[in-house]
């Protein structure tokens, strides 16, 4: 029966090409617009590290000694709290993160000095975040404590300096310190750059920068702190620091602490540990709001920060409003199409077709419009994503259609057309039989 309906639908669509084309265009344009924005939206609001995100947590305390009421702690923490919490090693894994631009040269490469971003982190960083290595490895916990002069570099930097060759064992000059390269990353592009996200909720929705590439150089935390002292910038300070850029014991917050916690009991235990630390620091007089500790999971943190750029959200809403208009349009056109065939439907009904059969046939026809609309819509989506890639936004290189979004394009197109078809099909199947036959 379905085959017969398909045949009927095909004939009917061929009969009135203009009306069919109008419907297909309406569906296709609506689908193209909404799938383009939906793909970008999914890209930007998705889980940057699905295998691990459930076990990654962002720890915060409120080290600001200024009295007063403050609901939320600062987005990052001060050096002393960070190092205290980190060195307690209460989580399965933990890493401190600071970032600074550093003057860099490769002594045996003939390129002028550059100022790439350097992340200074602790050994667990690579295993916590599943960072893929092309050559070599990260460093050990021992390297952290003895301030080993080693570095891991990004695939980009390796390409720029060494043409992509295995550069493990070669030397980089970071400011005045020589470090040995012990690892080169594979191309790694978490979206957003989740471990650096902070302060986004003050950005007034202008958060596209959170989707930029990773740092080019990774050094052990204390090594980086030492070699680039004086070049760190604070998130904020409650007093102006005496020596700007030298933040180790400054009245400033600037360090991130990420922990990995295997199960919910460990999460509870770690939160208690955080609270305990804050309470103890209050006794010491360093902290005035010990209740302001937070332990958000990765996705909760991204949600709290509001990482998706407001422009992208707005575009998605617009696209769906547009799809809705296209749907109304399709409903109207389908209605015209089905009712115009009143006579034909009358004959089929008179020959014994049930209302259900007529309804089903009409829906098949609507679905077919959706399918064709889906194909055109898919092409339009590809064109739309190409347009996104031409924009100068940090996430431009990420805008591609993956398999699931490809399938969703067709699912959405057919679902939309079926939805649009229900009302006209219902009308068509309820046409008074006698009247239609009489006018034939």
């Amino acid at each position: 029966m379905f085959g017969y309906y398909l045949d009927l639908a095909f004939r009917s669509l061929k009969r009135n090409k203009v009306l069919t084309a109008l419907m297909v265009i309406a569906i296709a344009v609506g689908i193209g617009a909404s799938m383009t924005t939906l793909t970008v939206m999914r890209l930007l609001s998705g889980d940057p590290i699905p295998a691990r995100s459930a076990h990654l947590f962002y720890a915060q305390i409120d080290p600001d000694p200024t009295p007063g009421d403050r609901k939320e702690p600062y987005d990052v923490i001060d050096y002393q709290s960070a190092v205290d919490l980190w060195s307690a090693h209460r989580a399965d894994r933990q890493t401190l993160i600071i970032e600074s631009p550093v003057r860099m040269r490769a002594p045996d490469v003939n390129l002028p000095a550059m100022m790439p971003a350097m992340a200074s982190i602790t050994a667990d960083f690579f295993s916590m975040f599943d960072v893929p290595f092309q050559y070599g490895n990260g460093w050990t916990a021992e390297d952290d404590t003895k301030r080993a002069q080693v570095a891991v570099i990004s695939a980009d930097l390796n390409q720029k300096l060494f043409g992509g060759a295995n550069s493990v064992g070669r030397t980089l000059r970071l400011r005045d310190t020589d470090v040995r390269i012990i690892g080169v990353l594979k191309p790694w592009r978490p979206s957003p750059l989740f471990y650096m996200v902070a302060g986004a909720h003050y950005a007034n929705g202008d958060t596209a920068d959170l989707y930029s590439k990773t740092e080019d150089i990774f050094t052990p935390f204390f090594t980086g702190l030492e070699l680039n002292d004086g070049n760190f910038s604070q998130y904020t300070c409650w007093h102006l620091p005496d020596h700007p850029g030298h933040l180790r014991n400054s009245p400033c917050v600037w360090v991130r602490l990420w922990v990995q916690l295997g199960d919910s009991s460990k999460v509870v235990a770690y939160k208690q540990f955080l609270d305990g630390y804050a309470a103890q620091q209050k006794v010491l007089g360093r902290i005035v709001r010990p209740q302001n500790t937070r332990l958000r999971s990765l996705m909760q943190w991204l949600d709290y920060e509001g990482v998706v750029p407001s422009d992208v959200r707005l575009q998605t809403w617009l696209a769906f409003a547009f799809l809705a208009i296209c749907l109304f349009n399709t409903i109207g056109l389908l209605l015209a199409k089905f009712l115009r065939r009143g006579g034909e439907i009358g004959v089929r009904r008179a020959l014994g077709a049930t209302r259900g059969a007529v309804f089903a046939q009409c829906l098949v026809e609507a679905g077919m419009v959706g399918l064709i609309g889906g194909i055109v819509g898919w092409l339009l989506t590809l064109a739309g994503l190409w347009l996104v890639r031409q924009q100068s936004v940090p996430y431009a290189d990420l805008a591609h259609l993956d398999a699931s979004m490809f399938l969703l394009t067709f699912a959405l197109a057919i679902a939309a057309s079926l939805l649009a078809g229900v009302l006209p099909a219902l009308r068509a199947s309820r046409l008074p039989l006698g009247l239609q036959l009489k006018t034939l």
Partner: protein, 404 residues
């Protein structure tokens, strides 16, 4: 032409009428708000920076040590001043549309209890405020002894110039001259008011706070170095900038030139508003496709009605209706449906605007958008229905005598 029979006919096509009206309503809501968004973005792109940006460029240097800063400043300033066509070179920590180095929260009392707002401190060496070309509207500009040496991030006890919008925000209705404010323990006294001086990153700040800037005069030194403001005739500027960038290698071989940051202010501004331009493009695209989709929907349904009513049209023509009457019938019918849609659409537009105001930094939709949108949609409807209506008017009276 009587409206009564048209309404009676529409009552028999409730579903189709409702669909067209809803489509128009939705189109009206999206149209109003999309146009409003476009107008806001255009206003942002064209915002008055208060500086002579087409005469200005910047060179940004990094990668030098603190103890090299004074030497670097001296060599760069001397070197750049030798470039033919250079009108002035000065040091300025933050650059409009460029580097942002002085964003901080200030207070109106020393205890830090009365928060004033998060503002931009432009710390600049001698000549930088003149080079910017801002307009002084009250008080005085910086004098030679205002430029004091400093050691921390910012000078203390400085005499500063603030923008008029910031003055109005901090001391509404009062004379800002002579007023003091604090940044932590550092104290500042207002001696001049400038017309406009935009923040380096205006797109991130809502409303008037785009213009909350303070100029703090200071001697160049460790914490005022590496960020240079170049002024030249707009015609010479690209060449002057190119020569300055080349010169860096000679006068400051140890410093690293920030390639992306060293541009003309016009270029920086264009880049800064790139995403707003993209957004405008997208909105215009949506509006055009939306109007097109709506028009096509009207054409489709009207054609169907015309075909369905061929016989009735024939009868009317046979008993004396002119072609013009038939044409007007369809035109008035369309006008009535679109009017219904617009009425609903205006409410929807307002609701959508309220929603947008909640989630985005967007002001209230000005009322004059509504009649304009109504005119556009009426026009669109009439244009779309014209073809089918002309076809209807062409139906010959003889159709009435045929039994289909």
């Amino acid at each position: 032409m009587q409206i009564q029979p048209i309404l009676a006919a529409l009552r028999r096509h409730r579903l189709a009428t409702l669909l067209i009206a809803l489509e128009i309503a939705l189109a009206c809501a999206v149209l109003c708000n999309a146009c409003f968004l476009i107008a806001n973005r255009i206003a942002l792109i064209h915002l008055d920076s208060g500086v002579d940006q087409s005469s200005l460029a910047t060179v940004q240097l990094t990668g030098y040590e603190d103890n090299q800063a004074n030497d670097l400043n001296a060599r760069v300033l001397a070197g750049f001043r030798g470039i033919a066509g250079m009108q002035s070179v000065s040091v300025l920590n933050s650059i409009p549309f460029g580097a942002r180095r002085g964003t901080a929260g200030m207070t109106l009392d020393q205890a830090g209890q009365k928060f004033g707002g998060v503002v931009e401190f432009y710390v600049g060496g001698p000549g930088s405020l003149e080079a910017l070309g801002v307009k002084l509207v009250a008080g005085r500009g910086p004098q030679m002894d205002d430029f004091q040496a400093f050691t921390g991030l910012m000078p203390n006890n400085a005499s500063v110039q603030i923008t008029r919008t910031l003055a109005n925000h901090l001391w509404p209705g009062a004379d800002p001259l002579g007023k003091t404010f604090w940044l932590g323990d550092l104290q500042y006294r207002v001696v001049g008011v400038i017309d406009h001086l935009v923040r380096p990153d205006p797109g991130r700040w809502p409303g008037d706070s785009k213009d909350w800037s303070i100029f703090v005069p200071a001697q160049t030194g460790v914490f005022l170095s590496g960020s240079y403001l170049l002024r030249a005739d707009p015609k010479d500027l690209p060449r002057v900038l190119r020569e300055a960038r080349d010169l860096v290698r000679k006068v400051a071989p140890d410093a690293v030139l920030d390639q992306d940051g060293s541009k003309t202010l016009d270029d920086l501004r264009t880049e800064g508003f790139q995403k707003d331009r993209a957004m405008i493009g997208m909105l215009v695209g949506v509006i055009v496709s939306l109007l097109l989709a709506t028009a096509l929907g009207i054409v489709g349904l009207a054609s169907f009605w015309v075909q369905q009513r061929r016989r009735q049209i024939g009868i009317r023509r046979a008993i004396g209706a002119t072609r013009r009457d038939i044409l007007h019938y369809f035109q008035i019918e369309n006008f009535l449906i679109v009017s219904g849609g617009i009425a609903l659409g205006m409410l929807l537009a307002y609701a959508l605007n309220l929603l947008l105001m909640q989630h985005y930094e967007l002001p209230r939709l000005p009322l004059y958008y509504l009649p304009i949108a109504a005119l556009v949609l009426w026009g669109l409807g009439q244009l779309a229905v014209l073809g089918p209506a002309l076809r209807a008017a062409a139906v010959p009276p003889v159709v009435a005598t045929r039994s289909v």
